[in-house]
């Protein structure tokens, strides 16, 4: 299986404009609009020729730009074809939500919770979107670029001495 086949299948289904792709050292990255992300993932997983049945990782990025500030990256692997690709999608700072892919790959559950914890990206349709690492009462999202390294004083209370 080749990268060209993946791009061809995606373009046939979603149109030329909706699929932006680039290749670097034989690794394919496809950028798709957030509205179609679930459909794209479902196609990649269920197409008999592609079979990207493993979601190796799902993570967020903060580009720290006025437009398309936050992104989510899906690293996929096909166990049958031994092929790796990654899917990218971007969200705006004001409208920081996108559909969840838990229904496609169950493993996305905790990955999406982690992305929510660290970036505050809300995954719509997630069964249980809570923080993973930080305490429930914490109000910030520490992997955002505008979060200071040493944190915000008083935001994480300590027990009394």
């Amino acid at each position: 299986m080749s990268n060209a086949l993946v791009v061809e299948k995606l373009k046939a289904r979603f149109g030329e404009k909706a699929v932006e792709s680039q290749e670097f050292r034989d690794e394919l990255t496809v950028v798709v609009p957030k509205e179609t992300i679930v459909e794209v993932c479902r196609l990649l997983k269920e197409d008999p020729e592609l079979q990207f049945d493993l979601l190796a990782d799902l993570c967020g990025i903060d580009m720290y730009t006025p437009l398309k500030r936050f992104g989510v990256i899906y690293n996929l692997f096909s166990l049958k074809n031994k092929h790796r690709i990654s899917i990218k999608t971007f969200v705006e700072e004001e409208e920081i939500r996108l559909p969840s892919v838990v229904k496609v790959w169950g493993t996305a559950d905790w990955h999406e919770r982690e992305t929510y914890d660290m970036f505050g990206i809300v995954f719509e349709g997630h069964p249980d979107l809570r923080r993973v690492y930080l305490p429930e009462e914490f109000e910030y999202h520490p992997l955002r670029k505008d979060f200071p390294l040493m944190g915000i004083p008083g935001s994480l209370p300590l027990p009394k001495k």
């Binding site: 994480l156 027990p159 001495k161």
Partner: protein, 179 residues
Amino acid sequence: MGLEHAFGDSFITTQLDAVINWCRKNSLWPMPMGISCCAIEMMAFAGPRFDVSRFGSEVFRFSPRQSDVMIVAGTTTYKMAKVVRKIYDQMPDPKWVIAMGACTSSGGMYRTYSVVQGIDQFLPVDIYVAGCPPRPDNLIHALMTLQKKVQRGESRGSFPAYVGDQKLNQPQPLPVKAG
């Protein structure tokens, strides 16, 4: 047999406190608060090669209610701090704390929002051990230093706390309302 030979038909006088402290210092039961990699060195400290039972401290208790000294071994995050404090509060008086390693003592290399920059921000620490991680010998040295403190009757964590001749955090008299 040794003692009778040395003292013959005589007797020894001492203070009750001194005898009790002597007993305490030779059977310190640690609470292993192994949070991260320092715990591996703490296990070596208890194991046969370094063998802390030579100093009467081999009885590691995983219940805080049966232990005297808490060895906090590892990076303490803000989320974990509540747990550490809760376990410490369950230990009976008198009690001591050893802060093992750089992370525990000062945050170490984790100068970041999620790690407490030294557990003395929420616990009364008696001994700090340097190292990343400290070798088991360092921890044995810390224990021996702690034994000297115990013999002197010093404890920062007990209530009221004693350090040297000083009494710390004594119970305050209740304020009297005038009129």
